[in-house]
Symmetry: C2
Subunit: 150 residues, 2 copies
Amino acid sequence: MSQNSTGNIKQFNLGEGHRMTPQRRFVYEVLMNSKDHPTATEVFMRVKNKMDSISLATVYNCLDALVGVGVVRQVNVDREPSRYCGNLEPHAHFHCENCASVEDISLKDGAKPSNSLKLPRGAKVEKFEVVVRGLCPECALSIKTKKQLN
Amino acid sequence: MSQNSTGNIKQFNLGEGHRMTPQRRFVYEVLMNSKDHPTATEVFMRVKNKMDSISLATVYNCLDALVGVGVVRQVNVDREPSRYCGNLEPHAHFHCENCASVEDISLKDGAKPSNSLKLPRGAKVEKFEVVVRGLCPECALSIKTKKQLN
DNA sequence: ATTTTTATCAAGAACTATTCTAAATAATAA
DNA sequence: TTATTATTTAGAATAGTTCTTGATAAAAAT
């Protein structure tokens, strides 16, 4: 318990046999302060500003640990680099094919996307992931504008 | 039009500037005859039985071409190798965390998973992907049985 | 306190799915 | 027939991620 950069970030421990290290705390803090969905490399660059000695491999380790404990979500879109997300509320993701941004999409109140599926009888659902692909509002607008100019 | 292994598989052409080659036809046939969701390497191995000279790079090329034309779907689950699917009906996928199988899940009649989302105003949706993760009926059963034995 | 055990870190090597390159081949257009 | 364009192939290259190893540090046991 020697180092503990007590900030405004929720405290938690990682359970039996797992240690809350400065590296893990920085990675967690970066994710909580990021509204975008950074990749491991992006997290690495942001943490490096606070702790220059950290390595990319350690960021991967920390992300794995945090995902394993369930305080962080790993988001995969197609085969692009994994992104990480501190929003644990059930939600979907919108992936813009033009600017490659990934944004949270919230669910309509009480709605569950899985309700529209004929799930196989006897299957045990752990979680599900909904990814919408297309053009985000900004890109949809700018592309439409560009077309008008031609 | 010199080679055309006219089988029981739907005929189609790939549009201006694209040629229907024996390799592409074999890749397509393999997908139409596969109920599982083979990876590129699995498709490669299956096609190789019919055409020994084909290379993995060609299988990737053919899959890209078929996906591009829209007669085949590419399915990504987490960061596992891409899988390919000849079922063009709108449907979701179930991914078993135990046996790693991927199965189609059909939608309830008239249901659209996107109806439960608060899509950002102005966004242009191209397509969306729903992946359910958990244990398939067989694995759920066998794991439950194994627990009882302990 | 000191030792022992266990977990974590860091740097770089290794891995793997996929894409790229370049030369050969084949199909289409001129 | 010639020229153009698309495709195939083998292997090299790429990129995200994981693995390996030795060092460090924290926790547990003595």
